[in-house]
Symmetry: C2
Subunit: 615 residues, 2 copies
């Protein structure tokens, strides 16, 4: 049985940075070659990054993507890598489809190319276009309609490899079904599959099932990195034709997963050419077979086994992996999402408000883990309602982590404001304090160049318990998708990890144990306005994530009066949520790309519900 | 030839207000009956409003929509209107499709029902789902696959009427093609087609062409009203089977368009039942024929002609119509969009900052025209950089229009802030002033319940010439989609209209003629940072609306250095645009639902570019 050494390059492209992304392809192909791989697979839309959104509809951007792919093929050959078969995702187009209403402008393709010997040897495109959750691909792409199968040399004789893209695994029929018809030995699948808590299990089960359906080994390479509010977690893997896992890459870090695969010998009776096949989904997919020519420059020695120890090896950069679905995984997603948002937007530092509460404490800790404590600036902004512990707990955290701290009391500004608009009480007075703090952060951002991080959690954002242009002001919201009960769990977990590592726990114990308060009025506690968070979060989860209606929520055991109240709060807060900065997505419905509701409601409280930040 | 009197009910539903929308159906059916109509047609998604966005995926909401349709049919019968054939859009579902990845949860339908004799006599759903521009319908709906054709009495014998929904007119094949196969005499089409400047011409041409293709008269009823950032402009119309316009409704107002139609007699050889037909778009559509039973309660006299004077009559509420594409039309769209956003969100009044500049002057005028000057509050917030005319021009406008005005100087707050963060200069100092003003407005909103209107124009928003949480703070942005050159045109047009009506021009001449300035630094002018607006707007139009790349822009005659600069400004301002409040859409790409780009860029100026408002 022939043996092929493959490498899955789980790397981190940046949307729009075509040259930087092409550099990654060349660099990691070099590493794969050094590891003796004959085939290297990069993620979906590697050349452009994903998601490109409406950039797909801009002809100049598609032109640039295609030109970059050609240039990359030539660069690979010029660097002596022309004999490595390289599969990479890119933004392509169909040239044969005229403009038509409802067809995305320019007929873009979510494409994948096979680069070999300095040129594009084959290209294909995603057949099944996802248009749910965070995906809007009917808006951007036309579907692919063929399956490339290329014959390439391996130790012990040639093998046949097919290429499909991401969603083609998730839907029934299509390229997977046709791979079986074509009799390919390996199906290579570039992906850009965003993280959700626990999704790792689903992916493995899916790959195993599709490998059995295709009757082929399956190489699944996922993108890495944060892009706006999406986090790609990697976790690339290889299964054999029976669906058994052969190797998997770590998650939340760059990795090159190198695996030796035993593959069936290519059938010599099958020749290059085109054959239509029933795709089992109501469409016909054309199988396009090619045979890769031998490349003189290549050293056959590169195919020798054992150059890398063991069947699977990975180069891991800064992995933080733990049991799937666990707190380590969630924390790693928040750190990666934050780190990449800061870096990809070109910021060198961040600034946030530190209140002594748990939300800002966790946010600061995530930021310090993401970009280093020396790039994290915090502002303590006490008012006359601030408790003594709000300052001491914040100072304790600063000392534990070595952050840059400054104190900017806001009382004088509050007083000047009161003088101009006398008699402010209640919500207007509370929100004013939160807005002055937001203004301090934005002013320091403008003056010193920091990215402002907001510290609101998902429970607050769901119920509108925040102040527009106050605690919600900023560029990124690291814990936007984290319910308050999970905030506490993550804080405790992070401290416990530090203890295990023999380090100082980064978060003061008092920030974890004290009752949460916005401290915008004397003696105020979150529980004055909201139910206990464990009760609230369970209800929010059923309403927001599971889309239950009022009757269903009551039937599920939630208190009927609370159901009415929380539905009203959540629906009325839609406008505020739209104005909230993005944050790393860790659940199916993160109040970002995932959940889109009309603003208009019959409740005028949508602004009036504003409360200050509790962190 | 039989004659049928039909009524198109161009009315204004509110998303989510099922009971209120059902009331409109009953109320306007009563009016149609009084006008002698045998058939009345309401807009697409009449029962729920449009667009419902992710509410479509909530089972309890779909249940409520369907229950409301049944209840409405019974109410109509109970009120003696059971003999009027009523076609209304609603949110329905297919019960026979099991859950599947990629299928919208619950298989919702963009449906239309025929209500008759107290029940749903027939139902259908949109076959072609738009998924471009402001539409995301692959996310929300499954396509319809049949065409109902109902036989109903008319003067001179029965006629056959088919029903299609909105996008089914815009795409080739489908229900229009099958209407010809079915031999229906009339095609009734409920629509929710958002306004764009000049779209009126396109719609008329489309209806004429599709009527000829269907070989049937065509009754096109469009929704009215603002919904979040969409504006539905009405303009319902009727064409005969040769495509000749028989009647059209006014735009930007409620209307009942009543028309007597000469229709071919129904073919007695065609009987109730189902017949599959080739839809000419790769699908098969089933024709479902029914015959409406006679309703005893009905008075045949209602069918007598001449009850309404002339062939076409409309009840118009507060129409502001002018030549299609002209300034009157744009102004009407801005007024309607603003009025409905205020009303549908339950606000009784608005507040905005008045600077003496043209943007805030036009915004205040739109607001006063939308909800009345007695509900418009303005704040004059001079700083040490404000010119004398900024105050006098603002006071002049207040006096001309009779608005509620107050003056809130911001110098004391600026000074208190400077004391806490000494040494602020440049952008940080400029933005601070804009943010204090935004905070004053939000505080007054919280204290007094006004909706805050922002006054930024499209040229500013495109280039990022605004301050996050400063002049961009608020709930609605009436001129968000209006380029600065069009701001001036509209202001001059509005003043000229007042002169024609023998009234005082609402906008001070000096606000129109003086050079625009943000007045955030001594002697500052917009032209210090931006090119002349006529040059900038032409370039923005090609870059934003026409999606030209840099090379194309230069080839189109734009200055190469300016092209580079403006592209950089526009791309870097994406984050700010996402945070901007919604505003009435009048162009294809309004920086709202229409244009979706990644936040991540390689430019860190995304916050630093912030400038104050020029209005």
């Amino acid at each position: 049985m022939p043996q092929l050494r493959i490498a899955l390059a789980q790397v981190n492209p940046t949307v729009g940075d075509l040259d930087g992304n092409a550099d990654l392809v060349v660099d990691w192909t070099r590493r794969a070659r050094a590891a003796g791989a004959g085939l290297v697979v990069f993620p979906e839309m590697m050349i452009t990054g994903y998601p490109v959104e409406d950039l797909a509809l801009r002809a100049s951007f598609v032109d640039a993507s295609i030109a970059t792919v050609h240039r990359t093929a030539r660069r690979l050959a010029a660097e002596g890598l022309g004999g490595v078969a390289v599969i990479t995702g890119y933004l392509g187009r169909r040239a044969d489809l005229p403009p038509r209403l409802g067809r995305p402008a320019g007929a873009p393709l979510d494409a994948a190319a096979l680069l070999y010997d300095g040129a594009i040897a084959a290209a294909t495109a995603k057949h099944h276009l996802p248009n749910y959750g965070v995906f809007d691909e009917y808006r951007y792409f036309v579907p692919g309609d063929h399956l490339p199968v290329f014959r390439m040399p391996a130790r012990g004789g040639p093998v046949d490899v097919a290429i499909a893209v991401c969603e083609d695994l998730w839907q029934d029929g299509g390229p997977v079904a046709v791979t079986r018809v074509a009799g390919a030995g390996l199906l290579a699948v570039p992906n850009a599959s965003p993280y959700e808590r626990g999704k790792e299990y689903v992916r493995l089960e899916l790959c195993a099932r599709r490998a059995r359906e295709a009757g082929a080994a399956l190489a699944y390479v996922n993108m890495l990195g944060g892009q706006d509010e999406l986090v790609f977690d990697g976790g690339s893997l290889v299964v054999d034709a029976e669906g058994r896992e052969l190797a998997h890459a770590p998650r939340f870090c760059d990795a090159l997963l190198v695996t030796d695969l035993d593959l069936p010998a290519a059938d010599p009776a099958k020749h290059p050419g085109e054959t239509p096949a029933d795709a089992g989904d109501g469409t016909v997919i054309t199988i396009r077979r090619i045979e890769l020519p031998p490349v003189n420059a290549e050293d056959p020695e590169r195919l020798r086994p054992g150059q890398v120890g063991g069947a699977a090896t990975s180069w891991a950069a800064k992995c933080q992996d733990g049991p799937p679905g666990g707190l380590a995984e969630v924390y790693a997603a928040l750190v990666l999402g934050t780190a990449d948002y800061v870096r990809k937007n070109g910021f060198g530092s961040v600034i946030l408000a530190l209140s002594g509460g748990i939300d800002s404490a966790l946010t600061a800790t995530i930021a310090a883990d993401a970009i280093g404590p020396d790039r994290v600036h915090v502002a303590l902004m006490p008012s006359k309602y601030s408790s003594e512990h709000s300052v001491t707990d914040a100072e304790d955290l600063v000392k534990r982590q070595g952050l840059h701290a400054r104190t900017v009391p806001i009382n004088a500004v509050v007083d000047a404001f009161d003088a101009g608009l006398p008699g402010l009480t209640g919500l207007a007075a509370e929100n004013l304090q939160a807005r002055i703090r937001g203004m301090v952060l934005m002013t320091l951002s403008n003056a010193e160049g920091h990215l402002v991080l907001t510290t609101g959690n998902k429970s607050e954002i769901a119920t509108g318990y925040s102040t527009l242009y106050g605690d919600s002001a900023g560029g990124f919201a690291p814990i936007k998708d984290v319910f308050k009960s999970l905030v506490w769990e993550l804080a405790k977990w992070r401290n416990a990890q530090a203890v295990l590592d023999g380090r100082t726990p980064p978060i003061p114990e008092n920030s974890i144990t004290k009752p949460p308060s916005a401290e915008l009025a004397p003696g105020q506690l979150d529980t004055d306005s909201l139910p206990a968070y464990e009760v609230l979060d369970a209800l929010l989860d059923d309403y927001v994530e599971n889309d239950m209606g009022a009757a269903q929520l009551v039937a599920a055991g939630h208190d009927p009066a609370l159901v009415q109240r929380v539905i009203r709060l959540v629906d009325a807060a839609e406008y505020k949520r739209r104005q909230y900065p993005p944050g790393p997505k860790i659940t199916p419905k993160n109040f970002g790309r995932d959940r889109r509701l009309p603003i208009t409601s019959r409740w005028r409280e949508q602004f009036g519900l504003a409360r200050g930040c509790s962190s």
